[in-house]
Assembly symmetry: C2
Homo-oligomer: 199 residues x 2
DNA sequence: TCCTTCATGTAACCGGTTACATGATTGT
DNA sequence: ACAATCATGTAACCGGTTACATGAAGGA
């Protein structure tokens, strides 16, 4: 039920209509929590009904500007301090990696390197985004900057990992797809066999 | 519709019952694609109905062992080679980060450092897992090893990023100019504020 | 005998996606 | 006049979660 809190967070920062909020989801926020128009409007109606937000102004085309009620603000803060968001972390790409053994080895390697390539492109896009915006306007954009940095590091990780994984497959067992386990050979070839801890 | 393909992938590797598959989801596979008992059984029934899998053996307690049909295998391979899995990437933790500005600064910093701590613990757990299993039995466990390595690197990233982000907040806006908050701090090696590219 | 594990199924619910539908206002 | 944008709403569907329900087989 995180969309609820995303809306509260945005409205706490600045009042706005469903349409305003949608635009934010389509740009910055959508990177970490996508939401569609229909869902946003529905959730706003519910939030209004439960008294966490209310209509504070009405505009031209039936536009309804929402603001947080005190209860809404309290709920937003409560969510931030109390909630330990854990990871369901459904990762389709890792799911596919899990089954890469079904493919001929070169095909699997190709797949991993494609992932590296995609990540590189995403990295560039994020970098461009970082250099166009100014990130010191307010607290929201300052925090957006933190999130963006996470995205950048994530893309670096994806590239490094994918290349490492491809190496592993090449250095690995000499079996055909769906075949028997072959002769084990000592790998642990490169230095990156173990992620370093920052603990 | 990824559960479908997860099941196909598992059954391609080795025939099994819903119960068998469930155990796999509760351990290794659950890290990247959780699934509940009810969903697994439902999906197996559907896959059977569409002819991608079939019952090849019946056991003691109504146990039904499923195997892939040729069409099922083809579909599994097609999914692996054709599908470009992109990221909806809903990340609750980054969503919260986005709104950290609602909290007093020290509270926000605390939140980030908690995240670092959690990630450190998860890192240790994964490391333990890595050292108990043997990862050279077959192609499936070999690929599982790749996925696990991704998890390790991910946890390292989370820690480094969270500490960097905490620093950013402390060094950031001077909205409350209550003295110098640790003026000259030598950042740890990798925290330049810019993720290095591996392109 | 009794408990645990094995083994499957189904129904209600919820968050999110797709698609359809409507109409007012503004700028060219 | 016309197109683009602003602005809201709703209904069908789908994947996933929670919870309930049943019973057979094996080991103590």
């Amino acid at each position: 039920m995180s969309l609820r809190h995303a809306l509260l967070g945005l409205l706490d920062f600045r009042p706005g209509s469903g349409y305003d909020l949608l635009k934010i989801f389509n740009t910055s926020l959508g990177y970490v929590w996508p939401a569609k128009q229909s869902q946003i409007y529905g959730e706003l109606t519910k939030l209004d009904a439960t008294g966490l937000i209310k209509v504070t102004e009405e505009g031209p085309r039936g536009r309804k500007q929402y603001s947080l009620t005190p209860e809404g603000h309290a709920e937003a803060v409560r969510w931030l301090v109390e909630t330990q968001e854990s990871r369901p972390q459904r990762n389709p790409m890792l799911l596919q990696t899990f089954f890469l053994g079904l493919l001929p080895r070169e095909e699997a390697v190709k797949r991993l390197l494609q992932h590296a390539d995609t990540s590189a492109k995403e990295y560039d896009a994020l970098l461009a985004l970082r250099d166009t915006e100014d990130w010191d306007r307010d607290m929201l954009s300052a925090c957006g900057r933190l999130v963006l940095e996470h995205g950048l590091r994530q893309r670096v990780l994806e590239q490094e990992w994918a290349r490492w994984a491809a190496d592993q497959l090449l250095a690995g067992p000499a079996t055909e797809p769906a075949g028997e386990a072959g002769a084990a050979d000592a790998h642990e070839s490169s230095t990156t066999g173990e992620a370093r801890t920052g603990k």
